[in-house]
Symmetry: C2
Subunit: 215 residues, 2 copies
């Protein structure tokens, strides 16, 4: 083995991680898994893919050690292989956003022009929460809230929001958050809240971003 062979071998191994990050659908799967463990079936529903296809992507991710799984009943539950991967994904997104201005544009056009939503950031949120000026709403599924959530938030999954609304006493502004910048459940929530006369804002950041912020 000479130096060139060694380099080829090493970079080939590195590229295996890169390959895993080269498919849009796999990146979406990784993002969803950064919220907590999910079954293949649940992932297929979230990503609008066939189960067989998701299974194939998961196999790729498993081969590059980005995810691991455990069997529960006849479900196979996948999760990120290590918590550094969730940190890495945030770094990756930050880099990608910085480089690809188009990403910013796509996102903002959709949110602003099509939905006309006002946003709020983590650093604006915290002082307002401490003063009791806002109610923080976690609209992700119950399991994801149970897995981890921003302290002080209350959990109302987006599907239940419409029904729960009447029984909910709100006398301040509401801030909704969900899985993070590329999830739009919080945008849907704000639409529902506004339609019911509640002053509501969308927060881009999710639990993972909060954890990094709090460090």
């Amino acid at each position: 083995m000479n130096e060139r062979n060694l380099k080829d071998l090493l970079y080939q191994e590195f590229a295996r991680i890169g390959k895993s990050l080269s498919s849009p659908k796999r990146l979406e799967i990784l993002d969803i898994l950064s919220q907590g463990p999910k079954s293949v079936d649940a992932l297929a529903k979230s990503t609008d893919m066939s189960v067989a296809n998701v299974s194939q992507h998961l196999k790729t991710l498993f081969n590059s050690r980005l995810v691991k799984f455990k069997k529960e009943g006849n479900f196979v539950i996948y999760e990120l292989a290590d918590e550094v991967i969730s940190d890495f994904l945030i770094t990756f997104h930050a880099l990608a956003e910085k480089q690809l201005i188009q990403v910013q544009q796509i996102k903002e056009e959709f949110l602003n022009e099509q939905l006309g939503l006002e946003g709020i950031t983590l650093s604006e949120l915290i002082p307002r929460m401490e003063k009791g000026e806002v109610l923080l709403l976690d609209v992700r599924p119950k399991e994801e809230f149970a897995e981890a959530h921003i302290p002080g938030a209350i959990s109302i999954p987006i599907e239940e929001l419409g029904d729960t609304l009447s029984s909910l006493q709100v006398n301040c502004d509401v801030v909704a958050y969900c899985r993070g910048p590329y999830c739009l459940m919080s945008a849907d929530a704000v639409k529902i809240l506004k339609a019911n006369g509640i002053k509501a804002f969308r927060m881009e950041q999710g639990v993972k971003e909060w954890l990094q912020f709090a460090k």
Copy 2:
């Protein structure tokens, strides 16, 4: 545009960065560029590829905004588009090494079994340098040394090491470093030094790792 379309578009943009990181040769190019600007021709020589092929890879990297270029005479000089990219590459390597134990194995087998070299780390080096116990040798090409180097190091490019050796007065241990963990110029240097009866060690880390370490 509905939510699914938006997600597909966003993840497609993210995947462009991933795609750039999915080819071993492109990763090698990025690593070399993290040492400083290089011409297409120089990159072709370093990576053992045809110029046309390197040009194609550079085009891909340029399209995902990872590199930029300027024209100088009839050379086109490429460099990393932003310094966050060099930070990102270190994070990426760290993740890859952690996940793919094989990478560690490949590297260590080659270095230990085939060369029988002793290594030293940055944190071991610094106190010893302060005490004046070691001479730090940068064996990269002169331009890369000029671009950036570890303070206190002296520059002797690997090609010149054999000739310079006799005129060099050495009365302490020598530590050689080069581009980083996946570059083997420092290993070659240690071999030459040892062959001339000088006690020499290889340091894995390069300038970029030192900058992160010094932060």
